[in-house]
């Protein structure tokens, strides 16, 4: 099982402005099977996003170890990411933004199918400033999926969208993931969102963050109706009253 993702953070310490040291994460450990969808939830400030940044290789100043799934060419896993903000290059069109994420030798690959799948056919020539929030997230999702990632990292990808747009994007993302086999790790504040998308929910403690519990979900995403989600929420709130409010 060499392609299993493992993230171990013995400690991650931030220096604060007044010279003190703030421990964001301590004794945090996460293992994810290939193709699984793990969702991290926990009180704000518990280090969820920090854990993702370490996983992405954007923060190397920590004690611990990261093992990423093995990539198709034997190297480390290809990453696809969605941050809280779209982070598209404003001076490049939607299509250029997506193509730039591809390795150079795949630059001219046919992406028409992907753009159609995400409803971006008409948008490929637009600049990010011309897109609504929802369309911008779709372009970001297209960028993340275009690289055919082995590891997909979603850091609260649907925040600051109105409820309807967020729901539509959630559905679009779920459908797209059903057709692919990427190991996915998502952070969210929205426990209903976690219950709708993930096949495993990992609950974190308040700072310094560590894993305090987890819940597996083995119902197919399409079969999770609102009753199922409310039941899951009640169960989580019962098990972790401090972290989860029903």
């Amino acid at each position: 099982m060499t392609e299993r993702l493992s993230l171990r953070i013995d400690s991650k310490i931030y220096p604060t402005v007044d010279g003190k040291r703030l421990t964001a994460l301590a004794g945090f450990e996460l293992v994810a099977e290939p193709g699984s969808f793990t969702c991290l939830i926990g009180p704000s400030g518990c280090g969820k996003s920090t854990a993702l940044r370490i996983l992405m290789g954007l923060d190397r100043d920590f004690a611990g170890a990261v093992t990423l799934p093995v990539g198709r060419d034997g190297g480390s896993a290809r990453l696809g990411v969605m941050f809280q903000e779209p982070r598209l290059l404003p001076w490049r069109t939607v299509e250029q933004n997506v193509r730039l994420a591809l390795p150079d030798r795949e630059r001219d690959r046919d992406l028409a199918g992907l753009f159609t799948e995400l409803g971006l056919d008409e948008m490929t020539g637009r600049f990010p400033a011309e897109l609504s929030g929802g369309l911008a997230r779709r372009a970001v999702l297209a960028r993340a999926l275009a690289v055919e990632p082995e590891l997909l990292i979603l850091d609260e990808p649907f925040v600051s969208l109105d409820a309807m747009t967020a729901a539509r994007l959630r559905r679009l993302t779920a459908d797209a993931l059903d057709r692919r086999r990427a190991t996915t790790v998502m952070v969210t504040h929205d426990i209903r969102e976690a219950l709708a998308l993930a096949d495993r929910i990992v609950v974190m403690s308040a700072r310094p963050g560590r894993v305090v519990g987890e819940m597996a979900i083995d119902v197919a995403r399409a079969a999770r109706d609102s009753a199922f989600i409310e039941a899951g929420l009640a169960e989580l709130a019962g098990r972790h009253p401090e972290q989860v409010r029903g």
């Binding site: 290789g57 954007l58 990411v81 941050f83 982070r87 290059l89 404003p90 994420a101 150079d104």
Partner: protein, 263 residues
């Protein structure tokens, strides 16, 4: 600067701003002619005399020759100063260590008179074109570096991370993430750059070259030929105006076409 107001305006505003420029130019000529007629100063030729001189010089081929060689020097020094200044500025803006090391040199160079740099370059490199280009570029590099350093400090780390996550090569990062963010700073440096550079080129030509506008003005100065001095100055100023309106401003508009207000 002259063009910044025009960047965000539509066709109508562009037309009327062009009109205003023409009006101000005609007013300047009128004022010039008026002072010649009314005051009749000894060393101020009438506009007609200057334009007549320019036509005669153009017909003989001298004007074109001097203009061309000066323009070539301006462009070479400009390209060198922009390239080196941008690289230095980015390095200083991104790395605190480099900034600490290079900051004093930069201030020193900023405060060294153009004349000193020109003379030293001629002495050390020789009376060559290389010396001209290096001397002029050295005068401009610190300005470019200081401007671009500000830009590099304002780079968005969140976009950098996109480049890291998707494993951009450094060339790709530079071209698609860094340079587009620096475009307003590059434009500012280029604007003030081209103006400074042609002034310094003339000085350097006067000191050690036997062609170019600076040399022509040097000759005219020896005979106190104000007509020739004004003629050459106006001719080259016209070339610089053409570069500003014909190259710099369209390039800037193209670079900012992704901005919502310009679309």
């Amino acid at each position: 600067m002259a063009g910044s107001g025009g960047d965000r305006s539509g066709m109508g505003a562009g037309l009327s701003s062009g009109l205003w420029r023409a009006v101000s130019l005609v007013a300047l000529l009128g004022l010039w002619q008026l002072s010649v007629t009314l005051i009749a100063p000894r060393n101020l030729p009438a506009p007609a005399a200057v334009f007549g001189f320019m036509l005669a010089e153009a017909a003989s081929g001298d004007l074109g020759r001097h203009l061309a060689i000066t323009l070539a020097r301006v462009l070479a020094a400009f390209a060198l100063a922009m390239a080196v200044g941008t690289a230095v500025g980015i390095a200083m803006g991104r790395r605190r260590m480099i900034n600490r090391l290079a900051d004093t040199w930069l201030i020193l160079l900023l405060n060294t008179p153009a004349l000193v740099i020109a003379v030293l370059c001629y002495v050390w490199i020789g009376l060559t074109e290389t010396a001209v280009v290096v001397a002029v570029a050295l005068n401009k590099i610190p300005n470019v570096a200081v401007t671009l350093r500000e830009g590099a400090r304002a780079l968005d780390p969140r976009l950098d991370e996109i480049g890291l996550v998707y494993r951009f090569s450094w060339a790709k990062r530079l071209r698609h993430i860094v340079l587009p963010q620096l475009a307003p700073y590059t434009a500012a440096a280029a604007r003030s750059g081209i103006a400074l550079i042609w002034k310094v080129v003339l000085l350097v030509e006067l000191l050690g070259r036997s062609n170019g506008v600076g040399f022509a003005i040097h000759l005219a100065f020896q005979t106190f030929d104000v007509t020739a001095i004004l003629g050459y100055t106006l001719a080259f100023a016209a070339v610089m105006l053409a570069i500003e309106y014909g190259l710099m401003q369209p390039a800037e508009r193209r670079a900012s076409r992704w901005r919502p207000a310009a679309a």
